[in-house]
Symmetry: C2
Subunit: 165 residues, 2 copies
Amino acid sequence: MKAEHINPFIRALVKSFDTMVGCKVRRGEIHLKGAEGTPYEVSGIIGLSGKAVGTVVLALSREVALKAASAMLMFEAEELDDDVIDAVGELANMVAGAAKAELAEFDMSVSLPNVITGRGHVVRFPSNVTPICIPFECQWGPLAVEVGLAPAPDATPAQAAAASS
Amino acid sequence: MKAEHINPFIRALVKSFDTMVGCKVRRGEIHLKGAEGTPYEVSGIIGLSGKAVGTVVLALSREVALKAASAMLMFEAEELDDDVIDAVGELANMVAGAAKAELAEFDMSVSLPNVITGRGHVVRFPSNVTPICIPFECQWGPLAVEVGLAPAPDATPAQAAAASS
C-alpha cells in the first residue's frame, strides 16, 4: 500500500475517536502486520469492495473497547455486551467509511461491521495481501488499525497497480 | 432473512465443498446465531456490499480446516499456516461468491476474505441484524455457515424490506 492510501485510515481513526469518543489518540510506528497474535481482545472488522477490495480491522484492548463504548453510550459499560459490540462495530464502520470517502478512485462500498471477541484470536489476511498495522495509544491503552487492500478481481491493470503497490 | 435468501448459501457451501474439497456435507438444523461462542476454532469471514450489506462466516473446527485444506492443497497440512489460511479464505470466498451470484437482486460484491483463528473466539454481528447459522457435518467433523444481511444504508424501501425480512 502506498502512503497516500494509508493516510486516509490514520485520519479516519483520529477523527472517529475525537468526534465519537471524545478521545485524543497518539500514533505509533506503522509496520507490516505479521501472522502473530496481537494483545487485542476485541477486533471490529469490516470489508471494502469496489475497484479495490479490502478489510479494515479496528483492534482494541478490552479496556479500550469498554471505555470507548462507555463514552459513546454515556454509561459505564463493564462487559462486552451487545451495546459495546454495536459501539465497536460503529467505530469500525466510521473509520472504514471516512477512509473510503477519501479513496474515491477505488469507488468502494463498506460491508457490515462484525466484532470478534476472545483472548488470543488472530485476524489473518490472504498471503498475497500485505496488511499494514497502524498502532495508536489512547488514555485507556493501546489500539490499532489494520488495513489490507488488493486489486478487485475485475480491476483494470492501472487500478490493480494502484491498489497493490 | 427469507428462506429464498438462505438457500443460495446452503447450495454454495455444498457445491464448494464438493468441487473444491471433494467432500460431501450433511446439513443440520438452521437456527438463529446467538452471541454465545462456537466450537469452531477457524472462521473464514468475508463481507458483501451492494443493495444489501452482509457478512458470510465459514466456521470450521481445526480438524475440518486442516483436512479440507489438505484436500485442496494435495498435501497433508498439520498446522494453521499460510497455506491453510489461504485455502480457508478461498473456500469462504467461493461460498460468498456463489451465493451472491444467485442473489442478483442485491447486486453485491465481495470483499477480501480474512480468517480468524483462536480457541473460543466469537464472531458477533450488529444487534439490528439477525444472523442465521446453517450447521453441517462432514467426514472430519462439524462446520457451519453463518450469514447476516441487512439493507444497505442507501437502499430503496423495497430493497430494504427484501434484505431485512
